[in-house]
């Protein structure tokens, strides 16, 4: 999942790579296609195909278990969606969740990455522990945190009682606490990947510059601003963008923690669309929701990336 770093770096190293001559490449491309085919066919059938099929479905009245044939209904699904306040509530929660998870995830991961980049003694332990959230099935992460949040037998309330901070509460079913409680779990689960990506970026920053800046008397913060951050920036940009998408599309965690409750306070758009499609059988309508989700997220991301890239040119 540290994809961001590698694309970043491989892009940078491209010019130095070996480039075979033009005619030679044409001949090799023929052989290359032969190597590509076994992967290409399943990809086309099971990922590109369904994507296009899904977009098409959004313009139909497809339902599950119906005998009447599916019909094209134009943009009717989308017109319905515009007036579907439940969906927009869910969408708002989805954005809150995605931002609420992505931002702390990045800040905490950056802190941890900076620490791990130092010569500290318990580094190995942190690295070992970071495996846990990363390797765990999302369902188990959800179950585990339910145990932590559990009102009577949970460790959170017990700790609060011990510290004299009140009697604690039922975190996951409280209207006000459910979403923040779920967001904490999201941050916990996604931190290791982000940390590893950032750490790789850090180890890529020029050490000589660091030393030179230190000799010139630059403090830690100054060195971070002028040396570390410019080098880290592309990695930070890609990993936050990816995290945002992953978080917006996340499903299993919240499904296990709250199933969207209480009163829809944590019903992420993915959960909403899942219920619409597989509980109520409204395939066409759910596909339209998917299209809207993709469109809005793409626009947000495009704005974020363009804004950030511009900002980079200014400074």
């Amino acid at each position: 999942m540290t994809l961001a770093t590698a694309t970043e770096r491989s892009g940078r190293e491209e010019p130095r790579g070996r480039r075979p001559g033009r005619d030679q490449r044409a001949g090799r491309d023929g052989a290359a296609w032969f190597l590509v085919l076994p992967a290409l066919i399943p990809i086309l059938i099971l990922s590109v195909g369904p994507l296009l099929y899904g977009i098409a479905l959004a313009f139909t009245d497809a339902q599950s278990g119906r005998t009447r044939s599916t019909q094209w209904i134009g943009t009717l699904n989308f017109q319905d969606l515009v007036h579907d306040t439940l969906f927009w509530d869910s969408f708002r929660i989805g954005l809150l969740w995605a931002v609420g998870v992505t931002v702390p995830q990045f800040v905490l991961a950056l802190g941890l990455a900076l620490l791990l980049n130092e010569n500290l003694r318990m580094r190995w332990l942190a690295r070992a522990l970071a495996i846990i959230p990363w390797a765990m099935p999302e369902v188990v992460v959800g179950i585990m945190w339910r145990l932590v949040y559990s009102p009577d037998a949970g460790i959170l309330n017990e700790t609060l009682r011990d510290l004299g901070l009140g009697d604690g509460r039922d975190w996951l079913t409280g209207l006000a606490t459910a979403l923040p409680a779920v967001i904490v779990v999201g941050v916990w689960a996604g931190m290791p990947q982000t940390t590893v990506a950032l750490l790789a970026g850090l180890q890529n920053t020029p050490q000589e510059l660091h030393e030179a800046a230190a000799l010139d008397g630059a403090g830690a913060w100054r060195r971070f601003r002028t040396v570390t951050w410019p080098a880290l920036r592309p990695v930070a940009l890609s990993i936050t963008a990816l995290n945002f998408i992953w978080n917006f599309n996340s499903f299993a965690l919240v499904y296990v923690l709250t199933s969207g409750g209480p009163g829809g306070r944590t019903r992420l758009p993915m959960l909403f669309a899942y219920e619409e499609a597989f509980r109520y059988g409204q395939f066409g309508y759910a596909a339209a929701m998917g299209c809207v989700m993709v469109a809005v997220v793409s626009v947000i991301l495009a704005c974020y990336l363009v804004g950030r890239l511009r900002g980079g040119e200014d400074t």
Binding site: A6, L35, P42, S47, A62, N117, L120, L147
Partner: protein, 279 residues
């Protein structure tokens, strides 16, 4: 590495690191603690970190309540088959994209990035309909197909990195010595690539073993379902029913992923970032 870090700053760093360690570790420790607690302690109003009378009852009860063994078997079949097929399919493609830069390579990279942003909602309904037409709903084979495609981008990306780490000069030297293309691939490239292929397969295995959403949608009957889906049955309709068995089952389900991940961690965190892009 660090330059002239003062003593107070060091202390601050250790304090911060300690906070991270606690934050990362405590939920898991609590899961383990709960898994080994007898029912009486679980019902107590003042739960303790260390069970006073550790017991294996929860594990026994977990196996009685849900078909865990069968589910683990299903998960094992689905994850192994998916990992194996994904690696078989992805290795040639990775080789092609790594060795022949050009349109093909950039198209592959582009697809890897786009696929990371893949909207599951939009894909799952068509996949469901397609697999239904093929009579592959509620079948492990349908799920395996989906997992293969789903893990391909990442497998491709990891493998391409490992291929790039094999110096082309070695292959050229073999060619100069008169080895044919196939001979070079089999006796020079493949052995050097083997550890990378194993790491990729294990990673694909873990991903599939952990996967929940597709399994939830595509598998209907309990005897076909994979471990993560069966785990959610412990939750029941009314929220948490039985904490002990739930914790025990969750703990067991995590062990394979944790062990395998620990095995390949160095490759994942190191290889994916450093070795993966050496050209």
């Amino acid at each position: 590495m660090s330059l002239r870090t003062g003593r107070p700053a060091r202390a601050g760093q250790y304090a911060a690191l300690l906070c991270y360690l606690v934050f990362l570790a405590f939920p898991f420790l609590w899961l383990v603690s709960t898994a080994f607690k007898p029912a009486r302690e679980l019902g107590s109003l003042h739960p303790t970190w260390i069970p006073e009378r550790p017991t294996l009852d929860n594990f026994r009860q977990a196996f009685d309540e849900q078909p865990l063994l069968q589910a683990a078997g299903n998960s094992l079949v689905a994850a192994s088959a998916a990992a194996l097929i994904a690696v078989l399919v992805a290795t040639p493609l990775a080789y092609a994209t790594a060795r022949h830069r050009g349109r093909l390579a950039s198209a592959a990279t582009g697809w890897v990035v786009v696929s990371q942003a893949f909207p599951f909602v939009l894909v799952i309904i068509p996949l469901f309909l397609i697999l239904k037409n093929l009579h592959l709903i509620n079948s492990l084979w349908g799920l395996i197909l989906v997992y293969v495609v789903w893990s391909l981008p990442f497998a491709l990306w990891m493998l391409a990195g490992y291929v790039r780490a094999v110096p082309p000069e070695l292959e050229e030297a073999a060619a100069v010595d008169g080895a044919g293309k196939l001979r070079t691939l089999v006796s020079v490239t493949a052995p050097l690539l083997a550890p990378g292929i194993v790491a990729t397969a294990l990673f694909a295995f873990i991903t599939a073993w952990n996967e929940f959403f597709f399994a939830l949608v595509l598998l209907k009957t309990p005897e076909k379902q994979t471990l993560p889906v069966v785990l959610t049955h412990f939750l029941g309709a009314e929220g948490v029913a039985d904490l002990g068995p739930l914790a025990a089952a969750a703990f067991l389900a995590t062990l394979p992923s944790l062990v395998l991940f620990a095995v390949i961690q160095r490759r994942i965190t190191g290889g994916m970032t450093a070795g993966a892009v050496k050209s």
